[in-house]
């Protein structure tokens, strides 16, 4: 177990290094830069002063080393555009994104397993075809367009659900308001992962159903209900934990668009602000945090997996 964690730690460092190098050099070597989006009437002297104040006159390599030096001490710098600490700005927004993605995972896993199991048990029948077809449609429809259509239907036409925002928070939190604000974003975000979970559950279930021990269970006279839901389903569900790890980066990608559609003030809308404002420290900070989120969630998935599957557990 100790070796496993050490190994994982090493991989994460390499991953973090590659990701930060790519992003840092991309934004710093591109033409333009923070002075490019300043007021139009700024004089060359003013621009020069800004460049010096932000330390942009140093070579990129030197700046990267300085940035890493600060980052490992937990200092991600100060946002160019709001003069707040990057860490604080991200800390304000990150909980909203985590909330959105966690509820999306919960919803997608429950719905995905139910649909996947139905699809496997009704293999080749109408229900299977309908579910398969809908999965491919879910993968093919542009999520922003589907989101806008849903807003038109549920917010504008029917007036059932609010079209944007995160709902009442803090002191005047109320459950109905919170849930109604969360419903559409979760639904839209789940189109990016739900079809994969459905397909995966289906093939996993079919695989298990063809195993010898299922035939044994049937031949010894176990009730069909017990065979399906005790012998098969439990084993079919184990691999589904592992696919969640793979889907997390995709989920976070989808969160950017989903947050933009529904005015959800998470990290996705923050990266859009940061990119538009050429806010280098903020862009770097978000990159680091989002990579950390991926690393930590994958670690969690692996730990859960090893606890659930006795075969993996005994190996470690």
């Amino acid at each position: 177990m100790f070796r496993f964690i050490l190994n994982r730690f090493g991989q994460s460092i390499i991953l973090m290094f590659i990701v930060t190098v790519i992003t840092f050099f991309l934004i710093n070597l591109a033409p333009g830069g923070p002075t490019g989006v300043m007021r139009m009437d700024a004089s060359p002297e003013e621009r020069q002063a800004i460049v010096e104040r932000l330390g942009l006159d140093e070579p990129v390599l030197v700046r990267y080393v300085q940035w890493v030096g600060n980052a490992v001490q937990g200092d991600l710098g100060t946002s160019f555009n709001s003069s707040e600490a990057v860490v604080d700005r991200i800390a304000d927004r990150l909980p909203y994104t985590i909330e959105l993605t966690v509820f999306t995972i919960i919803f997608s896993v429950i719905a995905g397993i139910i649909l996947g199991v139905i699809s496997a048990l009704k293999r080749g029948k109408a229900a299977d075809h309908v579910i398969n077809f809908s999965s491919v449609i879910g993968l093919s429809v542009p999520s922003f367009w589907l989101g806008l259509m849903l807003i038109l239907l549920f917010s504008v036409e029917l007036g059932w659900l609010p079209s944007s925002g995160v709902g009442p928070r803090g002191a005047d939190f109320d459950f109905a308001g919170w849930a109604s604000h969360l419903a559409m974003p979760v639904l839209i975000l789940s189109t990016t992962v739900l079809p994969n979970i459905v397909r995966f559950t289906r093939s996993s279930m079919l695989e298990v159903l063809s195993q010898n021990y299922i035939r044994t269970a049937r031949s010894k006279g176990a009730k069909e209900f017990i065979v399906l839901y005790v012998h098969s389903l439990r084993n079919a569900l184990i691999p589904i934990i592992s696919i969640i790890g793979v889907l997390i980066p995709r989920l976070l990608s989808g969160a950017v668009i989903t947050e933009a559609i529904f005015g959800w003030t998470g990290i996705g809308t923050l990266i859009i602000e940061a990119a538009n404002g050429r806010d280098y420290p903020l862009i770097m900070g978000i990159t680091v945090v989002i990579t950390l989120v991926v690393i930590v969630s994958n670690l969690l998935v692996d730990i859960i997996y090893s606890q659930v599957d006795p075969r993996v557990k005994n190996m470690a």
């Binding site: 934004i27 093919s140 969160a255 950017v256 991926v294």
Partner: protein, 297 residues
């Protein structure tokens, strides 16, 4: 002795390779959805690439009919908020959208195949470095990268294609890497190596032709992905810029006219969905057709 067995080996793999191309098509025929998708896509591409040459209206000029006109014989889909012919915009927009998808896919295929094949074939340091980069690209949510890259690099059509391609190669590299590992163990590759063929020649003449079917499947799915990504970045205003129409950027301002001219907000979205759907069906169908277990089904 060695020479004979090498020859035999080459013949054995050379022959099924030729046959496999035909097998692929005939197997695809059995999958009705995928087969229909294939012909549908051929039709759509023909319409958007030839159509603009025949249709009299330009996608960018005002028609003089007025804004938000209803459908008529002259303008089958009416006119948009500025009075431009929507049918012409759909044709031209489709051309740009599909071209972006095809170009991005080609770039992705080239990058992914080179990286995957080199990592699998050379092993050692090359493998570790290339595969670590591939894993890093898989782990970062690529939309963050696309967003940042397009804001700092600008949104010229070339950049849009390049940035989409730079995030789309990862899956292809992984597939090619796995297949290269498998194929490089075969005797005919060893024989070529023993005969003094260069690494480039072995890869190009012996390894990659074997992997080609898998590459085609990945490419088909990569087009679907590229089209969806282009439309999503268009929504954020970072795609190909108006007045050049794409199906993605046609949706940008259409929402405000959804009740007066619903077709503006619905048509491009439906077009994207159907084309991506067809590519996904085709990709799935091709993958099934290549599956050695196919015969059992």
């Amino acid at each position: 002795m060695l020479g004979a067995s090498v020859k035999e080996e080459v013949n054995q793999t050379e022959e099924p390779r030729r046959r496999r191309r035909f097998v692929l098509l005939s197997r695809l025929k059995q999958n009705k959805v995928a087969y229909i998708s294939l012909w549908f896509l051929v039709l759509v591409h023909a319409v958007v690439f030839i159509g603009p040459l025949l249709w009299p209206y330009s996608p960018e000029e005002l028609t003089g009919t007025g804004a938000l006109a209803n459908w008529s014989l002259q303008h089958p889909f009416g006119t948009d908020d500025l009075g431009r012919d929507v049918f012409a915009r759909m044709l031209h927009g489709g051309r740009v959208t599909l071209l972006v998808g095809l170009c991005a896919m080609l770039f992705s295929l080239i990058i992914g195949t080179i990286i995957g094949a080199c990592a699998g074939f050379f092993g050692k340091v090359v493998e570790s470095v290339l595969m670590r980069i591939t894993e890093a690209m898989m782990a970062i949510p690529n939309f963050f990268f696309v967003l940042v890259a397009l804001t700092v690099l600008g949104t010229t059509p070339f950049m849009v294609v390049l940035v989409i391609a730079l995030t789309g190669w990862v899956e292809i590299a992984r597939v090619v890497y796995g297949e290269t590992l498998r194929w490089k163990e075969y005797e005919f590759v060893e024989a070529a190596n023993a005969a003094g063929a260069t690494a480039k020649r072995i890869l190009m003449k012996y390894v990659i032709p074997q992997i080609l079917p898998s590459i085609i499947v990945s490419g088909t799915l990569a087009i679907a992905w590229a089209i969806l990504t282009e439309s999503a970045i268009s929504y954020l205003g970072l795609g190909i810029q108006p007045p050049t129409p794409t199906w993605g950027n046609m949706l940008q301002n259409s929402q405000q006219y959804i009740w007066t001219a619903p077709i503006l907000g619905v048509l491009p979205g439906v077009a994207i969905t159907i084309v991506v759907l067809a590519y996904n069906f085709l990709g799935d169908g091709l993958r099934d057709a290549l599956d050695p277990r196919f015969a059992k089904k």
